[in-house]
Symmetry: C2
Subunit: 145 residues, 2 copies
């Protein structure tokens, strides 16, 4: 599981939504895309996927936009990645039936490695990322002085 553009864009967008969660107003695609340097037509697809996954809610029409569907401290990075990277990918991985004993042993080890990295991703929520970002900003100010 390497970091793809897709996942990174989705994370950035959700982070922007989480930071905006206090105000009642929804954020629009153009705004998120502009401030995070993401191609807007592409971000649109990702937000649609996140909506179908139930992670964000959308408001159509003028003054519309997107809001986070849940609390920032309840949404883990693993949920986000699983949603954005597609469940059918897991299916394709699972349905490759092992042709040899060696193959299935290798596959088991890889699943273990995958579980390990999934556990890390499950250990972080959007809220955690916001806090890490703020801590990082403080650090940057320290360095600037």
């Amino acid at each position: 599981m390497d970091l793809s553009c897709k996942s990174e864009y989705a994370l950035l967008a959700l982070l922007a939504l989480a930071a905006n969660a206090g105000r009642g107003e929804p954020l629009q695609i153009r705004q998120i895309a502009a401030e995070q340097n993401i191609p807007d037509r592409y971000l649109e697809q990702l937000l649609a996927t996140l909506r179908r996954g139930g992670l964000v809610r959308s408001q159509r029409g003028a003054k519309g936009g997107y809001v986070l569907a849940g609390e920032p401290w309840k949404i883990t990075l693993l949920e986000i990645v699983n949603c954005i990277e597609g469940v059918e990918t897991q299916g394709a991985d699972a349905q490759r039936e092992p042709k040899s004993v060696e193959g299935s042993v290798i596959f088991e080890v890889w699943q273990e490695a995958r579980s390990a990295s999934d556990a890390v991703l499950q250990g972080y929520t959007l809220q955690d990322l916001l806090e890490k970002r703020d801590a990082r900003r403080q650090l940057d100010i320290m360095y600037y002085i």
Copy 2:
């Protein structure tokens, strides 16, 4: 880090070489390719990469072939994957300079996840895989009865 054909083929080939390590005779590409169902011209490239990485040694000419360069219990899966998947991939990952604070925070989390899965891969050697395979074979016999 998902399991690619490349890595799986390389693992299978090295497993065959490890199982053959007792005898002094080298294994030939055709033999490995035939018994593991790997396209031989492709396997040739992978073995060349493994040779340049110092994981196998080759013997040219008639009665030639490949032998493991080291002891099966000293070669970890992480070494193999790093060798076969290319070091320049890590470079490309590392050299993507973060454009925003959010981006670098995300990147750090992903590195942590990567480290976790790398640790799992480092915890297994070729010898371990051979033993897992043998245990699996015993299980299959039990089921057969």
